[in-house]
Symmetry: D2
Subunit: 132 residues, 4 copies
């Protein structure tokens, strides 16, 4: 159920304390979200729909370290009319590591003009949420 | 009033849309906070005090672009017993660009054990807040 | 024959021209080399052997782009007494993309003191070179 | 004499060994070169001239560390017909740290087609080389 994205921590992403530097978690989350959209939104849906990142939050419970496999589970956690939230639960190795939340605004592609989330997009991303 | 940190957007920090890639804002904020602590906390205060980043949020109003000068104003926005929030207001050129908020937990250096924020640290960071 | 490391270009690694920003190729190469050493050098060999990066060169023939799979083939291209070269041939998708060469100096772990490359290390890395 | 670019090492650019991760030196060099071109090539020269990075080399003598100020001196070290080399001498604090060399190919803007380096470009970049 839901979408999972996996990556492996690189040496150069770890700081002097031996843990992943905080900004890279946003890069991991971005990479996961790009794959998630690629996988769930067929090209025809992307002609009339794009997203603009409005807000991103990362909350940490334990650091990821060099050589850890980071596994991120993604699901839509709120639907608004022109915006929605996506939650990313991240594990590092077998430990819970962080939770990310992003707020996306649905926009006309190529602009910053908010538009209602198309029903087909919502259906596609919700389908992912409840089935593999 | 308060502490200001300035940097200049690098070409390699901008993505295909010509704007700073989202994860780099956290790196900018981290750089600003490091300078802020270096400037405001004398070494003797750092023997018994360190911080652990618990949560970070970035909210965008307008993107920063290549060659923009990014100016960040920093102030403590909440004091708790063992934690506190710091708010970072970021401009790009002459436009408001983003607001960052981080939650720090005060810890015994070298550990993840929360300890009350020392009064001297609070005074030092508050002094910065109300005077240049 | 030889060691191959694979990764996928992330969106945030591409610049305004839609190609991977030049510095990230060194990060890709570093990631490949770390995996190569992890795979080929058993822990007991790493007690008395470490490397220091002395020089790195990247030469490009075609850029890697977002979503490209980057495949890197690695082999030792020169053995010296206390140093050796490693060549990394990188493809992006099905196109040759870049060649990296690094010069490593063999050092006593934890120091910058050059020491002859142990025979066992040379054998381990050469074995990789001529067999899968 | 010549162009100098200065930056300050950020915490997140340092790895577990407390030194700047190797790939970031290329990012520093790129930033220095962008400033150097911005400063020396007036916009009218850039209409008919652009560069493509063909090759980059970094050779280290001593690492840069967190809080170091990195100072880079830049000069053209070879002129060819359609290509040229630029050398970047980098200091960290008061220590020599690294030397970078890049090979640029002069191209018609927006293409990968080599064109001879315009005389005006060569004069502009050479003027920089021998005078402040």
């Amino acid at each position: 159920v839901g979408f999972t994205h996996t990556l492996r921590v690189r040496y150069g992403e770890c700081d002097q304390q031996g843990v992943v530097f905080n900004a890279h978690y946003l890069a991991y989350i971005d990479d996961a979200l790009e794959h998630w959209m690629d996988e769930n939104l067929p090209p025809e849906l992307r002609v009339a729909f794009d997203v603009m990142l409005k807000k991103a939050t990362v909350e940490w419970v334990a650091p990821a370290r060099y050589r850890d496999v980071v596994v991120m589970d993604i699901h839509v956690s709120r639907w608004g009319r022109t915006s929605f939230d996506v939650t990313i639960d991240g594990r590092a190795g077998d430990r819970p590591s962080f939770t990310g939340t992003v707020v996306y605004v649905s926009v006309t592609p190529g602009t910053a003009d908010p538009v209602p989330v198309p029903d087909a997009v919502r259906a596609a991303l919700d389908a992912d949420r409840v089935s593999p």
